[in-house]
């Protein structure tokens, strides 16, 4: 008998591995569809701001605005909305979204308007598709607390799968460079699953942990409030948010933002005002909160200054003085969506996000291939899974066409289109084989993507290069999908 290498002593026992693999497999199957949908929409949501520009290619673009321009645009939006505006949200131009956009909120309804460099309103901002997409990712278009909880739970399941996945695959690092495609289906899927899992592990952990915390935040804050503040969750929020202004509902002329703008600039001379939020702008108790990006080398580099009607500062929090908890809170969103270092990181997030989406899909493929290899195939599940995998890109593309075609429609339109196409894809699993479902899904998605880009280019011509880049990317994706349909060996690999 030869001596075992020393490294083997660190290997977990086969029984342990098999037990963990059982849990890994069960958890992956239980959450497969939710994880696939959340990961797919999350990958697209990385480019949410680019999609906003794609929906508004003619929006006036600028690098910065003056206090005068800002004030003029906000007053015009306020006048257009009429009496009773409760909040106004103003996005100032930045690199990702070089617009001046004013959103008014009245009776719970919001209206977003774009303005030019002189502060003149140019029209409404179309954001039906980007809103549909981001809300689908954040709360699945369910009531916010329930939907957020399900998405957060999916994040926990993903995190748990990462833990069990590493423990259940003792060869995962030894085989770190093996990528064998085209042979046994199970070997191909296992190689892809394990390579993507291990090389992007830090990304997977970051995205699942931040996503879980963001999704579960309502529950966690509720429990914290219950356990520590006798059920008063407002006390938890007040630790992180600027205080509300003193309520005084007496009517007053609209707030003048110009002196506040000057003060914010004076307090952060090297900063860049990115966002202004007004509370009750036509009441005596009106106030304005200015968010200023002051430290570009930080993920959470935003300082906040709040002024009352008289222009007196009643709250100030500087990014450079924030504590670790505030820094973590400010970093959760940017780290989750890849919004902290420009296009290179966004593209990398897009690639890694596609990998994570494949991870969710591939786990089920491995299970199905394992059953087939063992002579216990699950043909109905194979059909259902193929219809989910290839039905979702089709449903999302159809929703995008509806949103671009009827930009003034209510959000219910793309939701309905997405829902109907998803159901039709599931229904197609009844008569069609997995290979046919896959081919049909890829073919239709590819054709619809080409139609969408053509329709967009003709119907919404504009000079925004980001919109052109999105159209080119979508068209390339469509052509790639059609190419896979035309090549039988690729079709076989993508069932």
């Amino acid at each position: 008998m030869t001596a075992q290498p020393r490294a083997r002593s660190f290997s977990p026992s086969p029984d342990f591995v098999r037990a963990v693999l059982k849990g890994h497999s069960g958890l992956g199957l239980a959450f497969a569809a939710a994880l696939y949908l959340v990961c797919l929409t999350g990958t697209l949501a990385v480019f949410a701001r680019e999609f906003q520009r794609w929906e508004n290619p003619t929006a006036p673009r600028m690098e910065s605005v003056s206090a005068e321009t800002l004030n003029r645009a906000y007053l015009a939006a306020l006048e257009k909305a009429g009496d009773g505006v409760e909040h106004v949200f103003i996005n100032l131009p930045n690199r990702d979204l070089p617009w001046l956009m004013v959103t008014t909120e009245k009776d719970g309804e919001r209206e977003s308007l774009l303005a030019d460099a002189d502060g003149e309103l140019t029209g409404g901002a179309d954001m039906l598709w980007s809103e549909f997409l981001t809300r689908l990712h954040i709360h699945l278009h369910l009531p916010r607390s329930w939907g957020g909880f399900i998405v957060g739970l999916s994040g926990v399941a993903l995190l748990s799968s990462l833990i069990s996945g590493i423990l259940a695959h003792p060869r995962i690092f030894r085989d770190a460079f093996h990528l064998r495609l085209g042979g046994s289906r199970r070997l191909q899927e296992a190689d892809l699953h394990n390579r993507i899992g291990v090389w992007a592990l830090p990304f997977h952990v970051i995205v699942s942990l931040t996503g879980a915390l963001l999704g579960l935040s309502i529950v966690i804050v509720g429990v914290l409030g219950l356990a520590l503040f006798k059920g008063d969750t407002d006390k938890v929020y007040s630790l992180f948010l600027p205080p509300h202004p003193v309520d005084d509902p007496r009517p007053a002329p609209p707030l003048d933002l110009r002196p506040m703008f000057a003060q914010a600039v004076a307090r952060a001379p090297d900063g860049r005002i990115e966002y202004v939020m007004l509370e009750h702008p036509t009441e005596m108790g009106g106030a304005a909160l200015f968010n200023v990006r002051t430290t570009p080398n930080r993920i959470a580099g935003v300082s906040a200054f709040a002024f009352d009607r008289e222009g007196s500062l009643y709250h100030s929090s500087k990014a450079e003085d924030s504590n670790l908890g505030e820094k973590i809170l400010g970093s959760l969103g940017p780290l989750h969506f890849g919004w902290f270092a420009g296009y290179t990181v966004k593209i990398a997030y897009g690639i890694l996000g596609l990998g994570l989406t494949y991870l969710a899909a591939g786990g089920v493929h491995i299970w199905l291939a394992r059953r087939r290899d063992k002579g216990r195939p699950a043909p109905n599940w194979e059909k259902v899974w193929a219809s989910v995998i290839w039905g979702q890109p089709l449903a999302l593309t159809a929703a995008a066409i509806a949103a671009i075609g009827w930009p003034t429609a209510e959000l219910v339109l793309p939701i309905a289109v997405w829902g109907v196409v998803s159901l039709l894809a599931l229904a197609a699993a009844w008569p069609l084989a997995p290979a046919a479902l896959s081919r049909l899904g890829r073919g239709l998605t590819g054709a619809l993507l080409l139609f969408l880009t053509t329709f967009h280019a003709i119907g919404r011509p504009g000079g925004d290069p980001v919109a052109t880049a999105i159209n080119l990317s979508l068209a390339a994706g469509g052509l790639l999908l059609l190419y896979t349909v035309a090549r039988p060996h690729l079709s076989r690999a993508l069932v």
Partner: protein, 197 residues
């Protein structure tokens, strides 16, 4: 920092990630004398994660590096791609039954409906309550700013819940898992309520 300089740093990080992965791949392929290559590979990856902290911010830099290293490593792994001839299902079955398995088969354990129900309750709501007990206990008892304690306590919740899920779905001693998770929840919440913020 100018756009060109920023892009240059990004390229350096991509190059560092690719170089580290290539060195590791070389080490993996050797039968002997792996250690220097393996050390060089890991050192390159660690260095690529550390230097951006000085150039692009102590948190932002390493997070950019982690992202770009993963993307560069994908490219290296993709360059190792082997394309094989398709196997028939019968050949694949023969391969699996011949003991040449890809990975261990998941455990086949006898179960009953109540054990399955309890297992998923442990992985779900009971694991969540236990994780919240630990998270809140941390927020209450650890030193530091209130916001920091609350945020780290919040981050603990999904991590512990995820670990509890992985454990309870794998462990065949389900009553032990029940006792540990229920005990953790009771102790955690009791300690938290006793002290308060």
């Amino acid at each position: 920092m100018s756009d060109a300089a920023f892009a240059g740093l990004m390229l350096l990080m991509l190059a560092g990630g690719a170089a580290g992965a290539l060195l590791l791949r070389h080490a993996w392929r050797l039968r002997e004398g792996k250690t220097p290559w393996r050390l060089a590979g890991w050192a390159t990856l660690v260095f690529t994660m550390v230097w951006p902290a000085f150039a692009l911010g102590p948190a932002r830099g390493p997070f950019i590096a982690i992202t770009l290293i993963s993307a560069a490593a994908f490219a290296v792994v993709a360059s190792s791609l082997q394309v094989r001839a398709a196997k028939t299902p019968r050949a694949a079955r023969a391969r699996a039954s011949g003991g040449d398995s890809l990975a261990p088969e998941p455990a086949e354990r006898p179960t009953t409906p109540w054990r399955t129900t309890l297992r998923w309750l442990l992985a779900g709501p009971i694991g969540m309550v236990a994780a919240m007990g630990i998270g809140i206990c941390y927020a209450v008892w650890m030193p530091g700013e209130t916001q920091t304690r609350l945020l780290i306590g919040g981050l603990i919740v999904p991590v512990v819940w995820g670990a509890a899920m992985a454990w309870t779905l794998a462990d065949s001693r389900i009553l032990r898992a029940t006792a540990v998770l229920v005990g953790t929840a009771v102790v955690g919440f009791t300690l938290a309520i006793l002290k308060g913020l």
